[in-house]
């Protein structure tokens, strides 16, 4: 398998972009990524784009950006669409098929029915309501916040975590988001403001749920040979790529059969996929404490907290300590979501994965894009990217490890 690097990134502002067409959102992101990479757009040999609702828009965007005649593939995997597109772009180059590939993500959600971007079939709703016959709960037939609200309550019961612990995740997110000029929400919030916000599904208040957002992000990937041939100064290498899934409810029958117990409260596919990506990248959780940072899928406050535990950064139940002790701040021992994460930047389903990769690339290359929220140099050797999608009945996640070193 060949070595692959990220060599450029671009991103539109995220937020309410009602007046803009898909092409008006996506083309600038593509052009910015090409300019950031310092390459001729004719070098791009294929494109993978993640989007749930934008049928055919990737072809239109690339055509408007002056890139035609190349293979263009739409990738649909709910919230993991963008990072799934990135993974396919990585595999395209790693396999030797191409040398220079673009991964893009785009979504318009503000004035589009959720039925278009992620409705539920009868089978999916049924499976969520009856947990597929397992003794562990799933989404209960409710929407996305409900499933994580359920998980949060179980975490509170089992480990003594509190509503304040979850709300502090948002306080951190908003603090970082206030330093991100492309984030949807740039206003800091206090703990009381988060707790007193409109209740969605107890204990999740509105600000503890990521917004439906419009936006696009694009990255350029290259093979090692191409990097050397075209004298790319700051390649960021993809050291690990992994993907997984589980059945409804964050659990998986196979895990139960292997261990004799159901996983939770937490997300078993995150735990299992992390093992795979760490193995491929030859890293351990402690390496991120020493020299790394993370962009993970904080779709809800509860999800970020359980990610700390699922990724092995702390023991089960100790997630609250990581947020309350400042461990995950930009200047902490393990910076997590320096961009502001989904809770502040916003979550256009297809674009989030490529947006996270863009953030990691800019952080590691100390790009001016992240000047106000720059992660300290000692934590820029390793980057972990993670998205978690729910395309119907279960979860599907995609994770990558990046390094400044080949």
């Amino acid at each position: 398998m060949r070595n692959v690097a990220v060599v450029g990134a671009g991103m539109s502002p995220f937020g309410r972009l009602d007046a803009l067409m898909y092409q008006e959102i996506g083309r600038p992101a593509v052009n910015d990524a090409i300019e950031n990479a310092g390459i001729d757009r004719k070098m791009i040999e294929s494109c993978y784009y993640g989007t749930c609702g934008g049928v055919g828009v990737g072809h239109e965007i690339m055509s408007e950006a002056g890139i035609t005649g190349i293979p263009i593939t739409r990738v649909v995997n709910a919230c993991s669409s963008g990072s799934n597109a990135f993974r396919l772009a990585f595999m395209d180059i790693a396999s030797g098929m191409s040398d220079c590939v673009m991964a893009m993500g785009i979504e318009k959600m503000k004035n589009v029915s959720m039925g278009v971007v992620g409705g539920g079939t009868r089978f999916q709703i049924e499976a969520k309501a009856y947990s597929y016959g397992s003794p562990m709960p799933s989404g209960g037939g409710g929407g996305m916040p409900a499933g994580f609200a359920f998980m949060g309550r179980m975490h509170m019961k089992q480990y003594g975590s509190t509503k304040e612990d979850f709300a502090n995740i948002v306080v951190k997110s908003r603090r970082n988001g206030s330093k991100n000029p492309k984030a949807e929400f740039q206003n800091p919030m206090t703990l009381d403001e988060v707790l007193d916000d409109v209740m969605i599904n107890d204990p999740l208040t509105r600000s503890q749920c990521c917004p439906r957002t419009d936006g696009a992000a694009a990255v350029v990937l290259m093979s090692e040979d191409f990097v050397k041939k075209h004298h790319i100064d700051t390649p960021i290498w993809v050291k690990g790529s992994a993907m997984g899934s589980n059945m409804a409810g964050g659990n998986d029958r196979r895990y139960y059969e292997d261990t004799g117990k159901w996983y939770g409260p937490g997300i078993v596919t995150d735990y299992l996929t992390t093992q795979k990506v760490y193995k491929m990248a030859k890293v351990e959780p402690k390496d991120f404490y020493d020299r790394g940072f993370v962009e993970c899928h904080d779709c809800f406050s509860v999800s970020e907290l359980v990610h700390y535990e699922d990724f092995g950064f702390c023991k089960k139940g100790e997630g609250p300590d990581m947020i309350n002790d400042g461990v995950v701040e930009i200047d902490g021992d393990l910076p997590i979501n320096p961009s502001g994460g989904l809770l502040s930047v916003g979550h256009p389903l297809g674009a989030t994965g490529t947006r996270q990769v863009a953030e990691i690339y800019w952080q590691m290359t100390k790009d001016k894009e992240v000047a106000k929220r720059q992660v300290p140099d000692k934590h820029l050797d390793l980057g972990l990217q993670h998205t978690l999608g729910q395309p119907g009945m279960g979860f599907t996640n995609v994770m990558h490890v990046f390094s400044r070193d080949l």
């Binding site: 049924e126 969520k128 309501a129 009856y130 947990s131 597929y132 016959g133 397992s134 003794p135 562990m136 709960p137 799933s138 209960g140 037939g141 409710g142 929407g143 916040p145 409900a146 609200a149 359920f150 998980m151 309550r153 179980m154 019961k157 209740m199 969605i200 599904n201 107890d202 204990p203 999740l204 409810g249 029958r253």
Partner: protein
């Protein structure tokens, strides 16, 4: 003779409950429990099942409150409860609403019972 469509239908026309007990099926090949009933096992793809009934009494696994679009909307408490077979050897998680006044009237682990109902899963607290 079945039509093309009919031959692909996997839903089973079985009552959801019998004597208010959850009417599930158990794969005779691998032991996987299937509810609602289907014509195949989604673990081993087997098609040979035995009936298995889950008692209507169990305990709360988790719960939350519903979203209120308006302050005047009635809020419901919903979530999942674990129900067991009569011998206690198998369990299943069933979602539904809890017949309580508010979020503070329920705790994980509370004993609950399914109210007889043809359409909805409604749990009443069993006061100890």
């Amino acid at each position: 003779m079945k039509s093309k469509q009919e031959s692909l239908i996997t839903r089973v026309n079985a009552p959801a409950r019998i004597d208010n007990k959850i009417n599930a099926i158990k794969c005779n090949n691998c032991g996987n429990i299937r509810y609602p009933q289907r014509t195949y096992c989604n673990r081993c793809q087997g098609t040979d099942f035995s009936p298995i009934l889950f008692e209507p009494k169990g305990e709360v696994i988790t719960f939350s409150s519903t979203y209120k679009r308006k302050a005047t909307d009635e809020q419901r408490i919903f979530g999942s409860a674990r129900l067991y077979t009569e011998d206690g050897k198998a369990s299943i998680a069933i979602s539904g609403t809890f017949d309580v006044k508010g979020i503070d009237d329920l705790k994980i682990g509370d004993k609950v019972e399914l109210v007889p109902n043809d359409k909805f899963n409604i749990f009443k607290k069993i006061e100890e």
